[in-house]
């Protein structure tokens, strides 16, 4: 079953998800949201707390992906099955070791293709 997973390191604390989520039901932008970003001032962390089963009140792009996940600018939110989420997490961990750009944005959110060493086929013997 698909649900919302979080990569904490990527969250930049913009609260776009929280703000949009709060408004989806009745058009009031407030604090009543199923996802909240805990900000710790002075620390280099922002922590998204999800209290949602992934069945969105209203998907902004009508593609079955919850609004918060569609809008997340860094790719910190993932809508996937547990197995897919693990794969994505591993992909992210591998990417950030190669290009430090992926310290701030997830590889699947970046528009240009980067050929990660891990993605290239292993060289065959004798080549």
């Amino acid at each position: 079953m698909k649900r919302i997973y979080v990569i904490e390191d990527l969250c930049n604390g913009c609260r776009l998800c929280q703000s949009m989520c709060s408004s989806l039901a009745n058009g009031v932008f407030g604090d009543r949201a199923r996802i909240k970003i805990l900000k710790i001032p002075g620390e280099e962390r922002d922590i998204p707390i999800v209290n949602c089963d992934g069945r969105c009140v209203r998907c902004i792009y009508d593609d079955g992906v919850p609004t918060c996940v569609s809008l997340c600018p860094t790719g910190a939110l993932i809508y996937a099955t547990q197995h897919e989420a693990v794969e994505l997490r591993l992909k992210y961990e591998a990417a950030r070791k190669v290009y430090s750009l992926f310290k701030v944005v997830a590889p699947w959110k970046w528009p240009l293709p980067f050929n990660l060493p891990a993605q290239q086929p292993a060289p065959k013997d004798g080549e």
Binding site: N12, R15, L16, S19, F29, G30, G42, L101, V105
Partner: protein
């Protein structure tokens, strides 16, 4: 949960002298005329400040303004701050973060702070509670300490704060207002005025929800807007580069183009290796610890927190390495040590200093030292050669500027004032307009930039017409382009070193950016076609505010703001002669690259700008016809009372 309507705009007036606090609703008519944010601030300032008011008097009011889009995910937490500048002009600045939305959630859209406190105070707002509290224990603290102390004291980790550092308390030239540790704004003099009022900080907590009535239409408009800015769907090649690596990426590009001000703009190109050392790649690889963003931003990493990993300054923490620092703390003073750049930049944030003031004044002093106008006897024994042979001394000098100690007292005046004291021709390399230091953007090979910096009412401020390299007009079909009311030849206008059409282009940019800041929105987010095509902004505003206005009417509000700013300066005695670039840009050629001086082309561009604006050619005063057209008869009346001759 309490809910507020988005349409009503409320102002909270605080008189620090008497401690009186009152709340009122702003006329609905003003929302139509000025939208909100910067526009509304300009109107309030014009109406409520008399001409000739001393900037450091209780009568000078400091306005903080949000707008109808703040608190919604479009406003990006921008808010505008305005007052009369100590340099006589209108002072206006804007900052991002989370303060604006929080203020709106507390049911307040504008703050007008007048009077002067006896003791240092801070303002505490918690929904409907407003208190002026004692801040003696915070006075003199650096901004990061203030931040921590206030959060501790109020027992709320998530409270939104705006505060000033020691620089503003000591009324150092160009001191800024800070918030969230790394968001700064108001370099045109707002920080100095806040310090003079002995107002150390603002603290806001709001819990009300903001209701918009036309939610479905808003969501529809937002969907299109977000597509234009999201990394994957934006058609602007700069969007991903800009949002993830930031402006330092330009350092190397600019030095190839002869666009990087080096050694106080004596040269326009730097050593490629040096430019590489301070570029975004080493920064991202070794320094960045965390990306940050303002409220609801569709871009991932405009702001970055950094920590210096090794060396002398190991463990130094700071935030934001953007367009300014790679120029003013690197090429301008010929320093290629990224550690030093980041330390100075971090210290500026902690003291609440303006980086452009520090950078350009330091570079000015270095050139004086180079030419023998300043010696070690003047600089407290510091070797002020270009290249920073004594980095410790430079770091100490930044502290001295903030506290006005020793040699720092001279530099704390800003380079224009300091040049007047030193004299001997040093005015020629004091790079300032209207008493305010330049910014990192260069002028001699982009004529629109030169014009924009010269005519800007607050002194150099590139956000009034950003970006100078606009979107590809081919993204908009020809048929659509005709509907936008641009009225200029885009082909000619986008040629950097062709003086034709520059006045018209600047006029368009000034108007459109004025609108973006009035909504408010972030002027860095005019990517894709959003810089030329204002209709997405118009749709967002219409649906969010419920104000039904036509597209031409929407554009007129920006023009009104441009004229209002100009009118304020006219009232204070600024005329055409004040609209000119610094001496160096105007009369000196650049060796090597063959970029000519601006003198032969500048007057023609200025004429074009004034003519298309409907301003007087000889004085730059808006004509009576123009003011009447814009429903600004109150400005005419004011001019008549003061005896300003209007054509």
């Amino acid at each position: 949960m309490a809910v507020r309507d988005n349409e009503v705009q409320t102002i909270l007036r605080v008189d620090l002298s008497t401690g009186k606090v009152s709340k009122e609703t702003l006329p609905e008519q003003w929302t139509r005329q000025h939208l909100g944010g910067r526009g509304m601030n300009a109107r309030l300032l014009f109406e409520e400040t008399r001409s000739g008011t001393d900037a450091f008097s209780p009568e000078n009011t400091l306005y903080f303004g949000t707008g109808l889009m703040d608190g919604l995910p479009v406003g990006h937490g921008r808010m505008s701050v305005a007052c009369k500048s100590p340099r006589g002009t209108v002072a206006e600045g804007s900052f991002g973060g989370f303060f604006g939305p929080e203020l709106r959630k507390a049911g307040i859209d504008y703050l007008a702070i007048s009077g002067k406190a006896q003791q240092p105070v801070y303002l505490y707002i918690n929904d409907d509670t407003v208190e002026i509290r004692d801040a003696s224990h915070l006075w003199g603290l650096a901004t990061d300490k203030t931040d921590a102390a206030l959060r501790q004291e109020l027992g709320d980790a998530d409270i939104q704060l705006r505060y000033i550092g020691p620089a503003a308390e000591n009324r150092v030239h160009s001191a800024v207002i800070m918030g969230n540790l790394n968001n700064s704004g108001g370099r045109a003099g707002c920080g100095e005025v806040m310090g003079d009022k002995k107002l150390k900080a603002l603290a806001v907590r709001g819990t009300k929800g903001i209701r918009i009535n036309n939610y479905d239409a808003f969501l529809e408009a937002y969907r299109d807007y977000y597509r234009k800015l999201a990394l994957k769907t934006s058609r602007d090649p700069w969007t991903p580069v800009w949002s993830a690596s930031g402006a330092p990426v330009l350092a190397r590009l600019f030095t190839d183009m002869g666009n990087l001000m080096t050694r106080n703009a004596q040269q326009m190109s730097w050593d490629n290796d040096k430019a590489m050392a301070i570029s975004c790649e080493p920064f991202l690889d070794h320094y960045v610890t965390k990306a940050k963003a303002c409220f609801g931003c569709p871009w991932p990493a405009c702001q970055k927190l950094y920590r210096i990993p090794k060396g002398k300054y190991q463990g130094f923490k700071g935030g934001n390495y953007w367009a300014g620092q790679p120029v003013v703390f690197a090429s301008l003073i010929d320093n290629s040590d990224l550690d030093l750049v980041l330390v100075i930049s971090g210290l500026c944030n902690q003291y609440g200093l303006d980086i452009f003031h520090v950078g350009f004044t330091l570079a000015w002093a270095m050139e004086c030292y180079q030419k023998g106008l300043l010696t070690k006897a003047d600089t407290d024994g510091l070797d002020l050669s270009f290249g920073c042979p004594n980095p410790e001394g430079i770091i100490d000098l930044v502290r001295k500027i903030a506290y006005k100690e020793g040699f720092g007292e001279l530099l704390a005046l800003g380079c224009a004032q300091a040049a007047k004291i030193i004299g001997q021709g040093s005015e020629k390399w004091a790079l300032a307009v209207k008493g305010q230091e330049l910014e990192a953007i260069t002028e001699r090979n982009n004529y629109m930039v030169a014009l924009g910096i010269a005519v800007s009412e607050v002194g150099p401020d590139h956000t009034r017409w950003y970006p100078p390299y606009p979107c590809n007009p081919n993204l908009i079909p020809q048929k659509e382009l005709e509907k936008l009311g641009l009225d200029l030849d885009l082909e000619l206008a986008f040629q950097g070193r062709n003086p034709k059409e520059k006045g018209k282009l600047l006029r368009w940019f000034t108007i459109s950016r004025a609108i973006v800041e009035s909504l408010p929105g972030c002027v860095f987010l005019v990517r894709d076609t959003l810089g030329l095509d204002m209709r997405p902004w118009w749709k967002l505003f219409r649906t969010a505010s419920g104000v039904d206005m036509s597209y031409p009417e929407f554009l007129t509000s920006g023009e009104r703001l441009m004229n209002l700013d100009r009118a304020f300066n006219i009232r204070e005695g600024f005329r055409r002669a004040d609209d000119k670039p610094p001496y160096r840009m105007m009369y000196e050629d650049v060796p090597g690259f063959g970029y000519p001086r601006l003198e032969p082309v500048f007057d023609g561009m200025l004429d074009e700008y004034y003519t298309t604006n409907g301003w007087s050619l000889s004085t730059s005063i808006p004509t009576a016809k123009k003011l009447h057209e814009l429903d600004m008869d109150y400005v005419l009346d004011d001019f008549q009372k003061l005896g300003v001759e209007v054509e």
